[in-house]
C-alpha cells in the first residue's frame, strides 16, 4: 500500500460510500452539540419527520450563552438574566430530553466549553471522526482524530444519518523542529504559523502539526495549536498519536479499559503519517526563532513578536493589503510604527477553548503570583474551561492566586471569547485575550482584541501594557 498521511488513514477508515463524482459518505463517530448551532437542526429533523440515527454518538453541553458570574449561574437555566440566551439554553435541554441525548447541563460538574469537555471526558478519542457545529472542533485533532466544524444543515445531517457528504482535502504538514525558548508556548507557535501562512494559508487542506516541538508538547499545547488551525484556514488540524496522547487518554471516563484499552492502543499506534507519505504542502518553522506573539489588528494573521512595531501602510504596495492594514489600524485606534509594548489593555481575558485548560491556568498563575493587576486595567477575567478544570485549579490554589492579584475567578463557559453572555468589551476598549479571534466586534461592539498566550495576558495585566514574558 502506498504511504499514507495521518489524514489519509483517518479518512479511509471512515468511508461508507465512495461516489463517482469525487464525494464520499463519511461516517461520524462522535457528534458534539451546543446550544447555538443546534436548535434549527433539531427543528429541521422534526419538520421532516426524521428520527435520530444513533443517540450514543452524541454528547451535548451548553457553553456559549452561559453566565460565568456565580450569582447568576447559581439559578441554573431559569436564572439566566437574558431571556433570549435563556431560551436558547432551555431549547438545548428540551431537545436533548426529547431525543434522549446525554447532556451535561449548565451546573453539572462536567459542564464546560465543548472543546475542553470532549477530550477531558474521553468522549473524543484517537482515530475518531468528530464533528460539532463550531469551527473550533479542530481542537480534537490533537488526539489524532479527524475533527472539524460544520454548519447547522450538517448538524441535522449527522443527527439524521450519522454521516456527512465530504470531499477529500489536500494534505499539509506544518513542521516545527528545534526547541522553544522559555516562556514561549503553543499559542505563540500557532500564532507564528498563522503569521507566516496567513488566515487563508490552510484553506483546502487538512493540517498536520509535527516536528520536535510538537512531539515534546503536552496535550493541552497540542489542543491549542489544533484549535487555531481554523484561523490558518484549515478546518481540521491534527497531531499523530504517541505516548503523550495515550497517557492523556488513559483513565478518562469514556475511554476504554482493560483488554479493550489494549486493543484500542494497538489500533491507535498506527495513527501517524508514514515516513514517506506525500504532503501537498510543507511549512517549516524553527522553534528557537519563535518569540512571544501579540496580534495588533483585526485578523489573526496581523500578528507580531513582542519586540515588533506596527506596520506602515505607506510601505505596502498591494492595494487590498494596504487598505486592510489602514482599516485595521483605524479600528484598533493604533498608530503605524508604534511598538507592541506600548499597547495598554483595558481588560484581560484568560479563557476560551484555545487556552482555558489546567496548564494554561498554571502558566498564568505563575506569572501573577504575589503581584497585583495594574490600576489601569479595569477588569481581568479568568474563566476555566470546564467544571473539572475549575475544581483542579482550586485544589491547586490557583483561584486564590488570581483573586489575590485582583482578578475575577469565574464559572466555566465561552465567556468573553465571543461575548454572547454578559462578559464583553466596551467600545474602544483594548483586551489582552487568550482567545482565538480578533475580528471587529468579536468581544463586544467596537472592542479591540489582542490575541496572546495565557502567560503574556497575565503579564500584561500586571504591567498594564504588553511585556516580554521571557524577561519576566
Amino acid at each position: 500500500m502506498a504511504a499514507q498521511t495521518l489524514y489519509d488513514k483517518l479518512w479511509q477508515s471512515h468511508v461508507v460510500v465512495q461516489r463517482d463524482d469525487g464525494s464520499a459518505l463519511i461516517y461520524i463517530d462522535r457528534h458534539l452539540i451546543h446550544e447555538v448551532t443546534s436548535p434549527q437542526a433539531f427543528e429541521g429533523l422534526r419538520l421532516a419527520g426524521r428520527s435520530l440515527w444513533r443517540r450514543d454518538a452524541n454528547l451535548a453541553v451548553p457553553d456559549h450563552n452561559v453566565p460565568t458570574e456565580r450569582v447568576e449561574r447559581s439559578g441554573g437555566v431559569a436564572g439566566i438574566a437574558d431571556p433570549i440566551s435563556r431560551l436558547q439554553v432551555q431549547t438545548l435541554d428540551d431537545n436533548c430530553r426529547d431525543y434522549d441525548i446525554v447532556e451535561f447541563e449548565i451546573n453539572d460538574r462536567r459542564q464546560g466549553i465543548v472543546h475542553v469537555v470532549g477530550p477531558e471526558q474521553g468522549a473524543t478519542l484517537p482515530g475518531m471522526t468528530v464533528v460539532c457545529g463550531d469551527s473550533h472542533t479542530s481542537t480534537h485533532g490533537a488526539l489524532g482524530a479527524l475533527a472539524h466544524g460544520i454548519g447547522t444543515s450538517e448538524v441535522e445531517h449527522v443527527l439524521a444519518t450519522q454521516c456527512l457528504i465530504q470531499q477529500k482535502m489536500k494534505n499539509m504538514l506544518v513542521r516545527i523542529d528545534g526547541s522553544l525558548q522559555k516562556g514561549v508556548t503553543a499559542k505563540d507557535v500557532v500564532l507564528a504559523v498563522i503569521g507566516k501562512i496567513g488566515t487563508a494559508g490552510g484553506s483546502g487542506y487538512a493540517m498536520e502539526f509535527g516536528g520536535e516541538v510538537v512531539r515534546n508538547m503536552s496535550m493541552e499545547g497540542r489542543m491549542t495549536m489544533c484549535n487555531m488551525s481554523i484561523e490558518a484556514g484549515a478546518r481540521m488540524g491534527m497531531v499523530a498519536v504517541d505516548d503523550i496522547t495515550l497517557d492523556y487518554v488513559r483513565g478518562r471516563t469514556y475511554a476504554p479499559t482493560g483488554d479493550m484499552w489494549e486493543q484500542a492502543v494497538a489500533a491507535w499506534r498506527e495513527l501517524h503519517s508514514d515516513d514517506d507519505a506525500h504532503f501537498d504542502r510543507v511549512v517549516e518553522l524553527r522553534g528557537e526563532d519563535i518569540k512571544p506573539q501579540v496580534t495588533w489588528g483585526t485578523s489573526p494573521e496581523m500578528v507580531l513578536p513582542i519586540d515588533g512595531h506596527l506596520p506602515d501602510p505607506a510601505k505596502i504596495e498591494n492595494h487590498t493589503q494596504r487598505e486592510g492594514v489602514l482599516r485595521a489600524l483605524e479600528y484598533m485606534g493604533l498608530q503605524a510604527g508604534m511598538p507592541i509594548t506600548a499597547i495598554r489593555p483595558d481588560r484581560v481575558f484568560i479563557g476560551s477553548c484555545t487556552n482555558s485548560r489546567i496548564e494554561d491556568l498554571r502558566s498564568a498563575a505563575a506569572v501573577v503570583r504575589g503581584k497585583r493587576v495594574a490600576s489601569s486595567v479595569k477588569q481581568a477575567l479568568v474563566v476555566p474551561g470546564s467544571g473539572e478544570v475549575k475544581q483542579q485549579a482550586e485544589a491547586e490554589g490557583l483561584d486564590r492566586i488570581f483573586i489575590d492579584a485582583g482578578m475575577e475567578w469565574r464559572e466555566p463557559g465561552c465567556s468573553m471569547c465571543l461575548a454572547m453572555n454578559a462578559d464583553k468589551l466596551g467600545a474602544g476598549e483594548h483586551c489582552a485575550s487568550t482567545s482565538n479571534r480578533n475580528f471587529e466586534g468579536r468581544q463586544g461592539f467596537g472592542g479591540r482584541t489582542h490575541l496572546v498566550s495565557p502567560a503574556m495576558a497575565a503579564a500584561a495585566a500586571i504591567a498594564g501594557h504588553f511585556v516580554d514574558v521571557r524577561e519576566w
Binding site: 436548535p39 463550531d134 444543515s153 487563508a200 461575548a419 471587529e440 466586534g441
Partner: protein, 215 residues
C-alpha cells in the same frame, strides 16, 4: 432547498479581504433559535451606526451611508462581489442565512473559507471562485457603471458581464447537481441507509470502544 439554475441581477461590492462571519452576522443574533429573519442584520456593524440587538426594528436605526450596501445604486442586489478568503472564521450557518434573507443568491470572490463555502450550497447560494485579476476587473466595471448586472449560469458554469465577457468557473459535481435540483441531501444519504448500517456493523467489531459508551 431553493434550486439555483441561473441568476441575472444587480451586483453589490464587499471590497475588503478576509470578511469574517462575525462581520457578516454578529454573535448577538446567533441567540435566535429560528432560521429566518437575519437579513436586516446582515453586516450589522458596518451597516448601522449603533449597536444592534436581536428583535429590534431596524428601519429606524441610523444607517452608515459610507457602507456600499446602503447606497441606492446597490439596492435589490442579488450578487455579491467580494475579495479573498470571504467567510472566514466561525462555522455559523447564520452567515449564509443572513445573506439569503437579504436576497443574495450568488457570491463571487477569488477564494472562500472552506466551512462557509460548504454552508452556502446547503442554502441555495452559489459561491463562485474567479481569479483575483478577473475579480479586480469586475470591481472596476461595477464601480464605473450604475445598475451593473452580471449573469450567472450554473448549468453552463459561466459568468457573463454586460459587455459580453464570459468567465467559466469550476464547481464540484455533486454540489452542482444538488443546487441545480434543489435537493435535500439528507434524503439522498438515507437512500444509502443499508450501507451505513453495514459500515457500523464492521466498525463495531473492529473498534467496539466507539459504541454504547455515552448513555
Amino acid at each position: 432547498m431553493k434550486s439555483f439554475i441561473a441568476e441575472r441581477g444587480v451586483v453589490a461590492p464587499m471590497d475588503r479581504a478576509n470578511v469574517d462571519t462575525d462581520l457578516i452576522i454578529p454573535k448577538q443574533f446567533l441567540k435566535s433559535i429560528r432560521r429566518s429573519g437575519f437579513g436586516p442584520h446582515l453586516f450589522d456593524e458596518l451597516r448601522y451606526l449603533d449597536e444592534g440587538y436581536p428583535g429590534q426594528d431596524c428601519s429606524k436605526r441610523p444607517q452608515n451611508m459610507e457602507f456600499a450596501l446602503n447606497l441606492p445604486r446597490y439596492q435589490g442586489a442579488s450578487i455579491l462581489l467580494a475579495r479573498e478568503n470571504f467567510g472566514c472564521g466561525s462555522s455559523r450557518e447564520h452567515a449564509p442565512w443572513a445573506l439569503e434573507d437579504q436576497g443574495f443568491r450568488c457570491i463571487i470572490a477569488p477564494s472562500f473559507a472552506d466551512i462557509f463555502y460548504n454552508n452556502c450550497f446547503k442554502n441555495g447560494i452559489l459561491p463562485i471562485v474567479l481569479g483575483a485579476d478577473v475579480v479586480d476587473s469586475l470591481f472596476r466595471e461595477l464601480y464605473a457603471a450604475e445598475g451593473y448586472k452580471l449573469k450567472v449560469d450554473l448549468e453552463a458554469q459561466q459568468v457573463t458581464t454586460p459587455s459580453g465577457d464570459v468567465y467559466g468557473f469550476e464547481v464540484d459535481e455533486f454540489r452542482r447537481h444538488c443546487l441545480l435540483k434543489g435537493l435535500d441531501d439528507i434524503g439522498l444519504t438515507l437512500e444509502d441507509a443499508a450501507m451505513i448500517r453495514a459500515y457500523e456493523q464492521t466498525a463495531r467489531e473492529r473498534s467496539p470502544w466507539l459504541f454504547d459508551v455515552i448513555k
